[in-house]
Amino acid sequence: MLLLEVKNLDIDYKTQEGTLKAISDVSFTLRQGESVGFVGESGCGKTTLAKSIMKLLPKNGSISKGEIIFKGEDLVKKSKEEIRRIRHLKIAMVSQSAMNSLNPVYTVGDQIIEGILAHTNMSKKEAAKRAEEVFSIIGLEGKRLKSYPHQMSGGMKQRAIIAMALSLNPDLIIADEPTTALDVVVQDRILREILSIQKQMNSSMIFITHDISVVSEICDTIIVMYGGKIMEKASTKIFFKKPLHPYSLGLKNAFPSILDIGEELISIPGTPPNLMKNLSGCRFVERCPFRTTLCQSEMPVLREAGEDHLVACHYIDKHEAFTEAAELRETWEAVRSRIIQEKEEGA
């Protein structure tokens, strides 16, 4: 059953310099119990996308087009009050900087109970009991509910935030870089806990991260974003064996792994596109080693490239040749010289 269906979503930010098209024409679906990982560089729109689902965009941001259908209803059309009732109860958030997501002047318990009371008829006592339950699920002692955030370590705070998100058994959890600020040992444990709870409760999850390896470990599906658009979507099993989009191929080269045996890392030359400009072609065109004139004029749509595999590239059929060429350093060096040359011409 489809839990969430995002259709042709456009999100703009109004800034002094003009309109920034943070998200353009993004569509994807999410099944009950499925977890999908969004990866991409900073500014690719992944956080904006997550916030838009909860309608938490900053004041200058707005959904200019598209639908967000959650359990059959379009969230874009809902009133503020209707959205308020959905937040936390149906869609809960584990936010990016958990360190600062707890109000320093209230105890952690108060903040969890407050969220429960806002959506249920529970008494304060019952809510406190529920808070204790979720604390034990996530591995925190009940007496910790009486702690203030500054009395807890980073890992504990992150756990408290997760407990808060779980407190009403939401259908969908949106986790925005939930472990980025944590040390690797703590990160590992918390990721395991998130994964096991999500499977236990059969809730769906949107997981946002810049760390592709985390997605490989905890998500069923991966969505690669670039410049406000989806470049590739696939089940993680397929994607990590056979990425198809040139950008994904580049990422694979650039990513150091602890298992590597000394192959040289190759980065993708250039910088992401300026989303203030009116971009007509493929968003990756500036940095793509395989571009043609078609790529510069026309944005490719997401197309089926295999089972559970969608790619936004005009030349999916050439992917074998691309994969081979992408492993070579020269392929990307050519892009670098091209960019330097363009700069010199520009100057």
């Binding site: 909860m54 938490l56 308020r84 009732r85 959905i86 937040r87 936390h88 109860l89 809960a92 958030m93 936010s95 990016q96 900087s97 600062n100 997501s101 707890l102 109000n103 320093p104 002047v105 407050e114 969220g115 806002a118 959506h119 203030y148 500054h150 935030i161 808060m164």
Partner: protein
Amino acid sequence: MLGFIMKRIFTMVIMILLVSTMIFFLFRTMPGDPTAFIVDPSIPKEARDQLLERYGLNDSLWKQYTIFLKDLVRLDFGNSFFYGRPVTVIIKDLIPATLILMFTAMLFAYIIGILGGAWMAWKRGTKLESFGITISLIFRSAPSFWVGLMMILIFAVRLKWFPGQGMRTSGYTGETFREIFLTLDFLKHLILPSIVAGLYFVATPLLIMRNSMLEVLSEDYIEMAHAKGLKESKILYRHAARNALLPVITAGALFIGSAMGGLVLIEYVFSWPGLGREIQRAVVRHDYPLAQGAFIIIASLVMFMNLVADVLYVILDPRISYK
């Protein structure tokens, strides 16, 4: 907590000593007759010599200083030249009038300032906000004494709504605290000066609350509160305003000193029989013992209120440990 308060009281006492010492030496550097500040130059020579002896003014500066400190500890500031009575007795009668005016005005200013500041931050970017800012800047630009004069002109002289001077109608005599301060007559006299003082005070909490609110509203825990589906009013007051208050209190503590100064002017304009008016009169009358005593008491009051603000801050912010 007790330890923290003890520590603060300790620093306060040190500060009072320092300020008093500064005043002591300031008077000693006075051009002309350095004894004039403590012994009325107009009294007969013999009596004068006796007094000089009494205060050790013929002794070394150090000895004089120790006598000054001893007297300070006993709260003995000598006799007023003008009234001929002990300074301590005169000041004791003036303190309640000043404190009542101060607290009424502060209360008025902080309630309006905090609510208004929170509201202005919420209305960020609208016409209402610019209007609010402009109004508060106008009040910040207007000297309190001038606003007092204009208020008297309009509300006391032209409209005759309120009395324009003093704190009781002439002819009324009261002895006890209750007879003086807990009367309708007193309240009527209190209204104009406390409004003027309140308007003078209000800009500080208002503008700081607004800026602090703006900062707090961009914090992650506010977004989290939205994500939790809390009602807007709850986010605004329980989460945002509660945290935004902290800088207002800090700034409030620093502001008390200048607030006290503003009060001197308002007391003067409204002939309000408080410490502020008396210090002005004492200096005009060359009544130095009274001026010195009043100054030390005013400075001590300011420091005491600073202490209250600090304690309040510690109570409101659980992050501060008061070990």
